[in-house]
């Protein structure tokens, strides 16, 4: 092998080695977010049954311990839910996140309305089937798991979850 060729190949080889020693850790560092733990979810007490009026949705803030990279927020808002007391006994909880594109769903006269693109839902969270115009919501509001505690308080406990938007069926977004 000629001296010149040897030098050239050595330069390329050593350069590649250097790039690898620096590049592989750099990539691992850049995709480090994959190691951040997902949100811890669990049943949280959010209200008492007596706080809720039949047929009047109530918006409740969900607080949880939140780890944001280096910061720990012991009591931080992670989301909101609509609680709907359908009758004396049953309560349902819906995520306020619109299944269309993730805006925040608001009350309307006789149900719910998303202010961004006009997604409409009934008081029971069901997607309104439009008689005129259209309803961009692909599915009904996302119902969250709910438990009712024992008498006398009947504490309402809800597990907060996030769902992917724009799909016909709710798929949890982890």
């Amino acid at each position: 092998m000629q001296r010149r060729t040897f030098l050239e190949w050595t330069i390329h080889g050593l350069g590649a080695l250097l790039a690898a020693v620096l590049g592989i850790p750099a990539i691992a560092y850049l995709i480090d977010a994959r190691n951040r733990p997902s949100r811890q979810t669990g049943m949280r007490t959010v209200a008492k049954l007596s706080d809720l009026e039949i047929g009047v949705p109530k918006e409740i803030v969900i607080r949880e311990t939140r780890q944001d990279a280096w910061n720990l927020h012991p009591d931080d808002v992670v989301g909101r839910v609509w609680l709907v007391r359908e009758n004396a006994d049953t309560v349902k909880a819906f995520s306020t996140t619109c299944p269309h594109l993730g805006c925040s769903i608001d009350r309307s006269e006789n149900g719910f309305l998303c202010p961004c693109h006009g997604g409409r839902f009934n008081l029971d969270g069901k997607r309104v089937v439009p008689t005129e115009g259209n309803n961009p919501a692909p599915r009904s509001m996302d119902e969250l798991p709910l438990e009712k505690g024992p008498a006398p308080d009947y504490e309402i406990r809800v597990e907060y979850k996030r769902f992917k938007t724009s799909l016909d069926q709710p798929v949890e977004d982890i």
């Binding site: 010149r4 030098l7 050239e8 050595t10 330069i11 050593l14 350069g15 250097l18 020693v21 620096l22 850790p25 750099a26 691992a28 560092y29 850049l30 480090d32 190691n35 780890q67 990279a69 280096w70 910061n71 720990l72 927020h73 012991p74 009591d75």
Partner: protein
């Protein structure tokens, strides 16, 4: 295939021509190792750009976020320690390489016409790089950078006339804060690097115009590619190797006691999280203006720091402005001495000035280190290095360079070169190891004996210098302790108020101090407050099994109620001590053990009717022992309450020794469910804040005006310190008042 692709690309871009223009540089006299320094600097600068950009993806400039984000990079992100370590040591390598590059340039006479402009560009580059070092040092917002940078901005503030204005603009306000960081950050990433890139392009372009400064009698010629490129690359790799070595083995970080990878962890984890074992750059405790700190600049600015010491009062400007800028002006003027027949003079002057400046800086650095060294022998050694060894090194270098300049090419000249290089290397290594020995207290015995002859200071009569340096070392040790502690507790998460709260709300740091301040004048605590006299119990391990058990048998001891007027338990213990018959004592002690075990677990609530697990059974046994009527000499419940049952003559023992129990004890010692009005302890309560007024009024009604102010956070810190609970107090729900005093039956 590859060549077809290259040809396709070349046809459309003409890249080969550009590459050729870059790489086909003529090097008269052949490739040489001495030409590598410039390439090395460019390489390390590139490394800084890459690692810096990576750091930018995770760094957050802000008073309450900077330290946390750097902590996160260093300890929690994969290979963050490596990226940050390379950036940290890379910056130091740049400073060293700058010195070497400059020396090589003047030795070659490359500062002389027609290369003046390149010399000036080089000086501008040096200034910009030192600016990067200065601004970068502050960014982690740790104690070290915070205090060291204060010195630099104070110097700017002392400029006559415009000082206050300049400082305020630089700092972004009257005090260090968010805008200091955003400004330094903008300078560090947005202003100086682009400036350096522009200057560097010009520097290299002009260099290419004039070519390397080869000796006049150089023979032959090679091209930059691949001969010189190969040498440059090897030198760059060597530097990279040294940097990597420093990052991995430099051991500047603080190891984390929990969560660090162990020998059982996978090899990948051991590498990715080596920062947790102490690899990489140091991260000091979070910046906190309320903490003392022995401020020193980074080592390569120590010479400027030392210079300040010689000029005080009105003369300070001589050290801060006149000398440094004067040296800058002299360096700037150097090429002008190279015109026409002055050229040999200009060459000589260049070498003399640069060698003198570098030697002066090195000597001042040694003296600065000497001033901080408590060992008089090590101090002497460093002073000798500064005044003898370093000037000698410079002298040998100048002498050798002069000899080489005068001698004609040939065997003798080569021999002089080799001999001189050897002497320089030996001297250099000698000085390096001497500094290392002096700094790490590892001076060999033979050297110590020789040094002792020159030192008059006696061990039992330390000089002012020794006292000062000892004080400095003590402060450094304290700062290192804080840094270590901060890194341990940051793993659980940092309060959003900022990392400074970590130590301010660490029970083991702040809680301990608060205990001494508020409790220590009456209560003793082993190793924390030991100085008599005390008026109340010893609180070391309060509420533990050992504490309770000893108290039961000997409550009148000064460790327990001996120093107080509370004598209920004293009589109880005396009853026990009066039992002379060992046969009677044994069941009595077994009973005491059951009660002790139960109480030490801070019991609350009722036992299960049908206990199954060992814990449940033990709980029931303890509960039954508490309410045992068969104990003739003092049943518990005739004085104490548990869960609403019993008598309130003595303190309520529900949750005895728990945080909850202590909280009420501290805010209302005279509460019927604590020691009652017999107690001498004052109530500790928040003086201000929501509801404090009402609570203080309520307290005044119950216990008179006997209270001391103590905030909620401070109280929780003391409680956690006493319970050895080392979690940082985040403080979500404030607990300010006692429960209403219920009449107990």
């Amino acid at each position: 295939m590859f060549s077809i692709l290259c040809a396709w690309l070349d046809q459309r871009t003409g890249y080969k021509k550009i590459l050729d223009a870059l790489l086909l540089e003529h090097i008269p006299g052949g490739a040489k190792w001495r030409y590598v320094w410039g390439s090395c600097l460019a390489f390390v600068f590139m490394l800084q750009l890459v690692t810096g950009l990576l750091l930018m993806t995770a760094y957050s400039p802000g008073d309450s976020t900077a330290w946390g984000s750097v902590y996160f990079i260093q300890y929690e992100m994969e290979f963050g320690w490596l990226i940050r370590g390379l950036h940290h040591f890379g910056s130091q390598a740049m400073v060293v390489l700058l010195g070497l590059h400059m020396l090589q340039v003047v030795i070659a006479g490359a500062h002389l016409p027609p290369r003046e402009i390149n010399w000036w560009l080089g000086l501008a580059l040096m200034g910009a790089i030192l600016g990067l070092s200065l601004t970068g040092y502050l960014l982690p917002w740790d104690q070290k950078g915070f205090w060291a940078t204060q010195v630099a901005t104070s110097i700017a503030g002392n400029l006559p006339g415009i000082g206050s204005f300049v400082k305020r603009v630089l700092v972004g306000g009257p005090e260090y804060g968010n805008h200091t960081l955003t400004r330094f950050y903008a300078l560090h990433v947005g202003v100086l690097p682009p400036l350096i890139i522009v200057l560097l392009v010009m520097h290299i372009a002009i260099f290419r115009r004039h070519g390397v400064t080869a000796p006049k009698d150089a023979e032959g010629e090679v091209m930059f590619w691949p001969d010189q490129a190969f040498k440059d690359l090897l030198a760059c790799l060597a530097i990279f190797g040294v940097l990597l070595g420093l990052v991995v083995f430099g051991g500047q970080g603080n190891a984390q006691e929990h969560g660090a990878p162990t020998a059982e962890s996978s090899l990948y984890d051991q590498a990715a999280y080596a920062g947790k074992t102490g690899c990489g750059a140091n991260l000091d405790a979070p910046a906190d203006p309320q903490e003392q700190y022995p401020a020193r600049p980074e080592w390569y600015f120590l010479f400027l720091f030392q210079l300040l010491k010689y000029f005080q009062g009105d003369q300070i400007l001589i050290g801060t402005v006149i000398i440094p800028n004067g040296v800058g002006v002299i360096l700037f003027l150097l090429p002008l001495f190279g015109y026409g027949k002055m050229r040999p003079l200009g060459h000589l002057l260049g070498v003399l000035v640069v060698v003198a400046v570098l030697t002066g800086a090195a000597s001042l650095t040694c003296l600065a280190i000497a001033d901080d060294t408590p060992d008089p022998l090590a101090r002497k050694l460093l002073e000798q290095l500064a005044f003898v060894a370093l000037p000698a090194l410079a002298g040998v270098l100048i002498f050798q360079l002069g000899l080489l300049a005068l001698l004609p090419r040939g065997g003798f000249r080569s021999a002089v070169f080799a001999a001189g290089a050897t002497v320089l290397a030996v001297l250099g290594v000698g000085i390096g190891s001497a500094v290392y020995g002096a700094v790490t207290d590892t001076i060999p015995e033979q050297v110590r004996v020789r040094l002792a002859e020159h030192v008059t200071e006696k061990k039992d009569e330390p000089s002012e210098m020794t006292k000062k340096a000892t004080g400095f070392r003590k402060q450094v040790a304290h700062a290192e302790e804080n840094a270590h502690r901060a890194v341990q507790i940051a793993h659980a998460g940092i309060p959003e108020g900022g990392a400074a709260l970590l130590l301010r709300r660490d029970p083991m740091t702040a809680g301990k101090k608060l205990f001494v301040q508020h409790c220590g004048s009456c209560h003793s605590y082993q190793g924390v407050c030991d100085t008599e006299p005390f008026q109340a119990s010893d609180l070391t391990n309060f509420g533990s099994k050992e504490w309770i058990r000893s108290m039961l048998t000997n409550a009148g001891d000064k460790r327990f109620f001996g120093r107080t007027k509370l004598d209920g338990m004293k009589g109880w213990s005396e009853n026990y001590q009066d039992i002379k018959d060992p046969a009677q004592k044994i069941p009595y002690e077994a009973w005491m053990d059951r009660v002790t075990d139960w109480l030490a677990g801070h019991p609350t609530g009722q036992p299960k009717a049908d206990p199954k697990t060992p814990e449940e059974i033990k709980f029931k046994q303890g509960y039954d022992a508490f309410f045992d009527k068969k104990i003739s000499k003092g049943r518990c419940y005739t004085c104490h309450t548990y869960d609403g049952k019993g008598s309130d003559k003595g303190p309520d023992l529900t949750g005895y020794g728990s945080a909850e129990w202590l909280r009420l004890m501290i805010i209302a010692p005279a509460h019927p469910s604590r020691h009652g009005k017999e107690n001498a302890m004052t109530a500790f309560r928040p003086k201000d804040g929501p509801g404090a007024e009402i609570l203080l009024h309520e307290l005044a009604v119950v216990a008179g005006d006997k209270y001391s102010p103590l905030s909620d956070v401070d109280r929780e810190l003391i409680i956690r310190f006493m319970l050895h609970d080392d979690r940082v107090v985040f403080f979500g729900q404030p607990v300010s008042g006692p429960p209403p005093a219920k009449k107990q039956k």
